[in-house]
């Protein structure tokens, strides 16, 4: 369980550039949840997850993971070591290994695993992110952007984190590359029951993969709810520089035109079923 208590972060406190990046954020996320994080650029999403991962020390408040304080150095280096994995934005710029396999093995070796165990973990992580075994001995720098991105994500998965945090993992990828990476994360979430926190600007990705959503605005947490409840506040989201998925827009317009359809629908399959049901009812009533 992740518990954020009165979490705040101020850049250059007392200075002329003082800026409250995160203000008094409180939430609880249960184990095994797939939670999306949305918010406009500069709303504090990245600072928030960096605090959750123990990389940035909050200026106020604390983060507890399974009751343990992430910012206690002793705990972070012992009980929580390798438990929280963070994939940064554009992680492919952080690759450095001479071969793909070597790059992914770096993390597990650092956790103190033997060469053989690290290799096993690395291979499994690469398989999970859909990297073909024929590429294991290639230099990561010779591969395409999408492949590099997968290798960088595999580098974090090889640590077997219980909590996986991804900061815009699909920015700049083509539609298929985006779906491939997110479905492998979703697969892993279901199989290993890990907790996933996903930052994305794509409302479609949220609709497809997340169970609940944290909405950040101006450093504050302004919503933490199920996906359908968050997307039912279309107007409020737009005011915050966000949007609702296209399917939600279709459903809301249909309702405005007098079609009796549930406003909670945000996925393609649910929309299809609901519309077809209404259409069949209408056909039956005409006969």
């Amino acid at each position: 369980m992740i518990l954020a208590e009165h979490l705040s972060y101020t850049y250059t406190p007392g200075g002329v550039f003082e800026k409250n990046a995160v203000r008094d954020v409180n939430f609880t996320i249960e184990d095994g949840t797939f939670c999306g994080i949305i918010g406009h650029t500069g709303s504090g999403k990245t600072t928030l997850v960096q605090m959750l991962a123990g990389l940035v020390r909050p200026t106020e408040g604390k983060v507890l993971i399974n009751g343990l304080d992430v910012h206690d150095k002793k705990i972070r280096l012992n009980e929580l070591k390798g438990k929280v994995g963070l994939v940064f934005q554009y992680p492919e710029y952080q690759l450095f290994g001479e071969t793909v396999l070597e790059d992914v093995m770096f993390g597990p070796l650092n956790l103190g695993l033997s060469e053989a165990d690290a290799r096993k973990k690395a291979k499994a992580a690469l398989r999970d992110t859909g990297v073909d075994a024929s590429l294991f001995d290639s230099s990561p720098f010779e591969l395409s952007g999408g492949q590099k991105r997968r290798i960088a994500i595999a580098g974090v998965l090889a640590l077997s984190p219980e909590i996986l945090i991804l900061d815009e993992p699909t920015a700049g990828l083509d539609p298929m590359g985006r779906d491939e990476i997110l479905s492998c994360i979703s697969e892993l979430h279901k199989r290993e029951k890990i907790t996933v926190l996903l930052i994305s600007h794509s409302m479609e990705d949220m609709a497809k993969y997340a169970q609940q959503i944290l909405v950040m605005d101006g450093g504050k947490l302004c919503m933490h709810d199920t996906v359908e409840n968050v997307f039912s506040h279309g107007e409020k989201l737009r005011e915050m520089g966000l949007d609702v998925p296209d399917i939600t827009r279709v459903i809301l317009s249909l309702r405005e035109k007098g079609v009796n359809i549930s406003p909670d629908i945000y996925t393609l399959s649910a929309a299809k079923e609901a519309i077809l049901r209404i259409w069949r009812e209408k056909k039956c009533s005409e006969i």
Partner: protein, 276 residues
Amino acid sequence: MIRIENASYIYPESGHAAVCGVNLTIQKGEFVTILGHNGSGKSTLAKLLNGVLLPTEGKVFVCDMDTALEENIFPIRSRVGMVFQNPDNQIVATVVEEDVAFGPENLGLPSEEIRERVDAALRAVDMYAYRKHAPHLLSGGQKQRVAIAGIIAMKPSCIVLDEPTAMLDPVGRKEVMDTVLRLNREEEITVVLITHFMQEAALSDRVIVTENGHIIDEGTPTEVLTKREKLQKARLDSPLATELLENLAEAGMPVDTKIIDVEACVNSICTALGKE
């Protein structure tokens, strides 16, 4: 405006053929979108448009000037400006208006003319109110609009934008696309947009799909974006509204599947349900 004749580009280090025998003409005032998956050759194609790269085979002409001739490079680059994905890599000054002035200053223009061009460019992207601000404190969409203003201040007749919204939030994306559309419609600037977002492609006059360095499809947004199978083969996708309509049509509901926007999708469903 731009004419590509049987152009190919092979990267000298890797021998990879990123563009293969492409023929394409872009008319003055047109808004053309180039779609394609990562590695399909679209960015290489864009770099051929103003002589950043020269074709290893074939020719590229900008206003009838061959990009391969050195004396043409300067006039070509002053006609075709480029905007890239990451706004942070394109901003050089510490004040917005100084950043926009960088290009015209380098043209050696008199200072009154520079002033005029900078003000006009900032107004054109709706960033005049921020002219004294520090660029690094702006949002992503604002920074990208400043980068566009820097290009506009050079008075180009064509702008090539290589995934200008990939790093932006939904509002930032809309700000940039509204700006691009206005420059195209009102200032009659030719636009070549490279993107992965189908909603953006839907706004253009013509869509071109690239795959393995070849152009595999071309047409109006509706023609191109409703061919789902073809798009999926090219690792792309059709808009969700189109996908929904296709799903409904497959189940027998009488809806129009040649639709790419939400509003028309809603109207088609309403008609089928007898709600006008």
